[in-house]
Symmetry: C2
Subunit: 380 residues, 2 copies
Amino acid sequence: MASSVIREILKQASRPGMISLAGGIPAPETFPMDILEEVFLKIIKRWGSSAFQYDLTEGFVPLREAAVPYLSRYSVEASTEEIFVSSGSQGLLDSLGKILISPGDIVAVESPTYLGAIQAFNPYGPRYVEMESDENGAIPESLEEVLIKNSPKFVYMVPTFQNPTGRTIPIERRKAIADIVIRYNALLIEDDPYAALRYQGKDVPSIKSMAPDHVLYATTLSKVFAPGLRVGLFVPPSGELGNWLVKAKQGTDLHTSTLSQAMAAVYLEGGYLEKRLPLICNFYHPRLNALLEAMDEYFPPDWNWSRPEGGMFLWAEGPDRTNIFELYKKALSCNVAFVPGEYFYANSENSRQAMRLNFTNADPDTLQHAVKTLASLIVN
Amino acid sequence: MASSVIREILKQASRPGMISLAGGIPAPETFPMDILEEVFLKIIKRWGSSAFQYDLTEGFVPLREAAVPYLSRYSVEASTEEIFVSSGSQGLLDSLGKILISPGDIVAVESPTYLGAIQAFNPYGPRYVEMESDENGAIPESLEEVLIKNSPKFVYMVPTFQNPTGRTIPIERRKAIADIVIRYNALLIEDDPYAALRYQGKDVPSIKSMAPDHVLYATTLSKVFAPGLRVGLFVPPSGELGNWLVKAKQGTDLHTSTLSQAMAAVYLEGGYLEKRLPLICNFYHPRLNALLEAMDEYFPPDWNWSRPEGGMFLWAEGPDRTNIFELYKKALSCNVAFVPGEYFYANSENSRQAMRLNFTNADPDTLQHAVKTLASLIVN
């Protein structure tokens, strides 16, 4: 249901002349178009027909090997055998639902949370409990209460530059969360697609590094290479979960595109990523700055918004009297689009009068103009 | 369970020195390695970054356009909008399970049937009823009985060069099947990965062409281009099923690799397939002939086997006293591998003492040697 409303919103947002802060896609300017032919030729030379043949469900071994040092940069220490490939993060979320969720099972999520996770889990019939969150993300005491009261099958979080809020859980709170999942022997899914997109501030270690036996760490190359390849990576806790996820994936798609995986392998190990990532961050940083400056300048003082140091999204909450759908409609008629906050809540009764603003697909001037327009609609 | 046994079998079959008639993968010699760079450069030139960006769940439009004349050759008439892309056939089978199967629902399948379908459907908890079959595939009277008695959610068939039997349902029987699914308003899944791999004899029209409103037609480019790309195509009956399958896929993997789809689009529309397909068939035809000749020469008269005119598999059934697992073990010790028939039955109590022999991955001499070895183990 929410999925079709979102499709409708994104459709309206793609109308000609529209300034869309609604989407969540990387700017095509960040794709390394200039090196793709070279990468492709390396694949042909090195692996020949193997890069086009059926392959292991677990993932293309050279990619899993190349992922070892890559994940290590994000404080995830794993061997080749411990790293699995999924068809984007979405593929993993589906497999998790298939393996872990029986109808009526409880899944704990942030409030708000990533919509794609809800869409992946919903067909398996879970009920959701939401952890309370503040400007630093999920609150550990709320997590503990949920674990005690609801015994969820697993906890799902995006701790860094979260979609939709852009919030990052600070290190002390990560430690508290790690302690709690260890103490209650819970399984935490740490979905981490944005960690590489840090434009300022210091890296924060993964929760996986603090509780390796209780955390499944997932990431994707969609934001640092190209999303159309549909390549995700994940590291489950040791034990049987990884094998079960592989079995689920085998029934779902046999394996992820070998060609996509081979492209990713060369991109990671050939030094391409190292060269490209600073360019990507330098491309997005002025956009984030422009958005924050415009919010500070134009948005009324009774609104609150996140101050992300990276990622793709900013989250702005209005006072209770705000009618976000009226604002949404007015904004559309002024050719500015965003996604109303309601769609990011697993249980909509907890939702706020909020908006998700994407800043990766408009240049600084356009972002400033869009924010000015939104602010004038709020005030008048 | 069966899935892990099969994995074990394929692992043993890949031991050095083993002649494997166990697998089901295309020969890498059939991949068009010589034109891949050209195809890739066309993609970059024509679509640029769009070939690496997020795309529609329904499928990359240029591929769906290119599929219109391609499918028409196999008597499937569909417009661009009626053709959808899946992540291999497997991706579609999973979506079908997700949308159509609630635990305990009945699915009607051939006996034996394609193992990958069972693996895709099983997580959704169906019960299976098997249609009786003979050397011409599923028997219409048995289908009718199943529809009356069991009201299955849908019927699943591989009518052409079936996996595992290699059997093709003749045109008259297809018409009877089409009449029955229309009469009982049933949904038939016509899974058709092998139709293009015809080495002799005449094409048989699809059942889809005889009952378009009751048949979902599915095929894949895995056998005529490269399986590692994971690109499947399907045409649902008009109505809501297509939209539901798209929704399921959106939660499962968002969309199939855009790069894979772009490769497939250029391959289909650029005249590459036309040139390549005869080479592929000429490559496999002598292998099929060698296998059939060796069977005729060496296999004992109380065995029966299919006489496929294409595809990748031959099916041989022994008399009831045959102990196929003992034969399997003996064959392994003589460095010949096959898959025992039991694994291809949805309900194993109906299984026969049979073997599936793949002939696409060994040259004619090797096939002859393997069959001679198997025959000597049967006789002695």
